[in-house]
């Protein structure tokens, strides 16, 4: 097995279910020791990709490398080094959460009881309850504890915080950061932008089974527009002729507009002539980036995009 700096390396991944094409040229990389966010609307293929990375589904004619191996053929060896939290956690209704954690940990390689007990406490989970009696959030915790109690090099997490309350989300974030400190890699699919912005080093956004954007958060922001809001002394000033100013809105003394990042210097120089009194610049949030990509879908649903 070769060692590379990539924990996950997927190029041009394709997968069909019968006639339906689920993945259509998807690229995804996770650097070793980093946390990678994985975003996309419902049904865009996140879970399908993750199942391929785990050798649960078979990829169509592409190279998929996970920890330097082929997830389909080397599954047994690779899985010792991977921990997984599925999108829908299904447990045996008649077994307790503690039993489920042990069974899943054991299948991976072994049970680290000290670590398990510590995590049970951090997530405030009662392991002696039958799974049938758990709430959705508690079922999620069972899967999280089983995965985090392992010493896996790569954590693959499919919407791991769905159903968790804010306190547990914070506990989860802390655990993931610790994992990074220990040098582990994380692939995290999510619908929660704040979580991804908080935790992730890199982000991949997909749509209809294709990667539409990927890079570090900083890079992504850089490619996008910054929103600037200025207060001008001169209420008659007209900024619209200034090159580089877009989406201008005037409200008394306040002017709000967006600027593409390369034009920023030019626009600020022009702006000086208008004697601004105060200026606020907001980098684009991930949410805005995301929504811009799905503009067409949202428009079809009657939602207008800023």
């Amino acid at each position: 097995m070769t060692t590379t700096s990539l924990a996950v390396d997927v190029v041009g991944l394709r997968k069909s279910f019968g006639r339906q094409r689920a993945l259509d040229g998807l690229d995804l990389r996770v650097e070793t020791g980093q946390i990678a966010g994985f975003l996309g609307p419902n049904g865009s293929g996140k879970s399908t990709t993750i199942r391929i990375l785990l050798g649960l589904l078979r990829a169509e004619a592409t190279t998929v490398r996970v920890l330097g191996g082929d997830p389909w053929n080397d599954a047994v060896a690779l899985h010792r080094r991977i921990a997984y939290v599925p999108g829908d956690v299904n447990l045996w209704p008649n077994l307790t959460g503690g039993q489920a954690i042990d069974i899943l940990s054991r299948l991976r390689g072994g049970v680290n009881t000290t670590r398990r007990d510590e995590l049970l406490q951090r997530f405030d989970l009662d392991p002696s309850k039958k799974a049938r009696a758990y709430s959705k959030g508690n079922r999620q915790k069972v899967a999280l504890v089983a995965a985090l109690a392992s010493d896996a090099e790569l954590l693959i997490l499919d919407e791991p915080t769905s159903g968790l309350d804010p306190i547990m989300e914070a506990a989860f974030s802390a655990c993931i950061r610790e994992a990074r400190t220990e040098g582990r890699s994380v692939l995290l699919s999510s619908h929660i932008f704040a979580e991804v912005e908080n935790l992730c080093d890199t982000v991949t956004i997909i749509r209809l089974g294709k990667t539409v954007e990927s890079g570090t958060l900083a890079e992504l922001r850089h490619l996008r527009r910054t929103t600037i809001s200025v207060i001008l002394d001169d209420t008659t000033a007209d900024l619209s002729p200034v090159p580089g100013v877009n989406d201008l809105a005037m409200d008394g003394q306040r002017a709000t507009f967006t600027v593409a990042d390369p034009d920023l210097g030019l626009v600020l120089a022009e702006l000086a002539h208008f004697k601004p009194r105060a200026l606020v610049s907001t980098p684009p949030s991930l949410e805005e980036l995301f929504l811009r990509h799905y503009g067409t879908e949202l428009a079809a649903n009657g939602v207008s995009v800023p």
Binding site: L56, H79, T96, R108
Partner: protein
């Protein structure tokens, strides 16, 4: 609500109805061909009253008419099938939905908390009545006497309704659909066995009083094409209404998702054994396995003693001797051999259910995190499938020994233990072929595996037990996993069929497992 349930189940209902009603013309035609003249039928009537007929299909009456023969040949099959169909349907829309959380969604939109349950009972009850009506219409069109046809349809519909009540109550008592179906099956099985004992105990065409304890016995007492009685319909329908009312009362008192017994906290860590696939399978299926073994032991005890009662009866029965030959002891052997095969049928049902748990784990999404562990698919599935392999072997051994002991005790013949043990154990390869069909289906057509496996099982049972009654070609009746096995102690033991069955099982298992390892995991959405 009723419309909603119909939309979700119409295909299932239609298939059951077609299968049930379709048997009437099939059997009618075959019997008309077999007994074309009045004289043929009278000859048949004089020999029809044998213990094995009584035990399997009930005490014959009016066997000199085509209607009577039709009832004799098909009524019990229809009755038991309809009882099972009814209980599966009730559970599917009742406990299974509740278990999966679908009821929660519905109840939050729907006015009354009983609306869905009652609609479920109405749909399935309507199904029973329609099947009865269709059977009446088809039988009358054959043409058979109309009043007899009417009683025939009514007796089956009434029995279906009664078991609607039974399964409604079962669905409220247990908290899982498997438990509900299992409990209903036990009730149906008990009703069948109780009636078999009563019918064996009968004199002439009147069954013994014990049959009066079984709802199947009540429905039989309507005697379609014979006396055409109506009064037994009253306890059947009355029982159905009472049981449904009790079920609704229980539902009103319990929480959604709960059974009557509450959940207790369990151990917070798993034992070592439970962490292996085989151990986990054993832990998950232990309740059901205990049920299967209990059924085998009870049946074997019963059969063992029934056989001895029959043996006594036979010595003085010239009619019986005419069928099975002059030697009374060979006739007993014939009955014993049939009972041993019934035990193998139970073992076959167990392996199908147990092997299908692999698919259940996969479909429910529970297999996914397990297979994301460091274990190959073959190892995982193999570990779980060890359970049906070992379990069925034990079941055949236990069934054989218990039946042999019960029978041997009545005959003062200890050698029967060993004889019936051997007779029972040689069914193992055949049982593994049936299991192999399930494994094959899981590997090749995962989503259809449950229905196809059970269909195969049902075909094997019907052909093995009733095949000769339907006068099917021996190419079919002789080559099911069970009938291909030498039928001891009547037949001679030969090795080739055992070897062939073993080879067929090995091939099915190998293909199934390899396909399972090579295909995409198929989770139900």
């Amino acid at each position: 609500m009723v419309r909603f349930i119909l939309r979700r189940n119409w295909l299932r209902l239609l298939i059951w109805a077609v299968v049930l009603v379709g048997m009437i013309p099939l059997v009618y035609e075959s019997q008309r061909a077999a007994f074309p003249t009045e004289a043929d039928r009278e000859a048949y009537a004089s020999i029809a009253n044998t213990p094995s007929v009584a035990a399997l299909t009930g005490t014959p009456y009016a066997a000199d008419t085509l209607g009577g023969i039709l009832v004799l040949k098909i009524w019990m099959t229809l009755a038991v099938t309809l009882a099972f169909a009814t209980s599966f349907l009730v559970t599917r829309n009742g406990r299974a939905d509740e278990e999966d959380g679908r009821t929660e969604l519905l109840r939050s939109n729907v006015l009354g908390r009983h609306a869905y349950t009652v609609a479920n009972y109405l749909v399935v009850g309507g199904f029973d009545i329609l099947v009865g009506a269709a059977i009446t219409a088809v039988a009358a069109a054959m043409p058979l006497p109309f009043d007899g046809s009417l009683v025939l349809g009514a007796s089956l519909a009434g029995l279906g309704l009664f078991f609607l009540g039974v399964s409604a109550a079962c669905g409220q008592l247990t908290s899982t659909s498997r438990g509900a179906n299992g409990l209903a099956a036990v009730v149906i099985g008990t009703a069948f066995v109780v009636r078999a004992i009563g019918d064996l105990d009968g004199t002439g065409t009147t069954p013994g009083w014990i049959s009066g304890l079984s709802p199947i016995g009540w429905a039989q007492q309507m005697r379609a094409f014979g006396e055409n009685r109506w009064w037994p319909l009253a306890p059947l329908v009355g029982g159905a209404i009472t049981l449904c009312a009790i079920a609704v009362r229980i539902e009103a008192r319990r929480d959604l998702g709960a059974g009557v017994l509450p959940d207790r906290p369990g151990p917070s860590a798993a034992g070592r054994f439970m962490m292996t696939p085989f151990g986990l399978a054993l832990r998950l299926q232990r309740a059901s396995i205990a049920g299967w073994f209990a059924a085998v032991v009870v049946m074997a005890l019963l059969y063992g003693s029934v056989a001895s009662a029959m043996a006594n009866l036979l010595g003085s029965n010239p009619v019986f001797a005419a069928v099975f030959g002059p030697n009374g002891s060979s006739a007993t052997k014939g009955v014993i051999a049939l009972l041993v095969m019934l035990n193998a049928i139970v073992a076959s049902a167990f392996v199908v259910e147990s092997a299908l748990q692999v698919r259940v784990e996969e479909a429910s999404g529970r297999a996914e995190p397990q297979l994301a562990g460091s274990i190959s698919r073959i190892q995982w599935a193999g570990g779980r499938l060890l359970l049906p392999i070992i379990g069925s072997a034990l079941m055949l051994v236990v069934g054989g020994v218990v039946m042999g002991s019960a029978y041997g005790a009545s005959q003062n013949d200890a050698a029967q233990v060993w004889a019936l043990l051997c007779a029972s154990v040689i069914y193992w390869p055949g049982v593994l072929v049936t299991a192999g069909v399930t494994v094959f289906m899981i590997g090749v057509v995962p989503r259809l595996a449950p229905s196809l496996s059970w269909a195969f099982f049902a075909a094997v049972v019907i052909i093995s037990v009733f095949g000769e009654l339907f006068s099917l070609p021996t190419l079919i009746t002789g080559n099911t996993p069970l009938t291909a096995t030498p039928r001891l102690p009547v037949g001679q033991f030969t090795m080739p069929p055992i070897l062939v069955l073993t080879a067929v099982a090995a091939v099915l298992w190998a293909i199934g497992l390899v396909r399972f390892a090579r295909r995409d995991l198929a989770q139900d959405a």
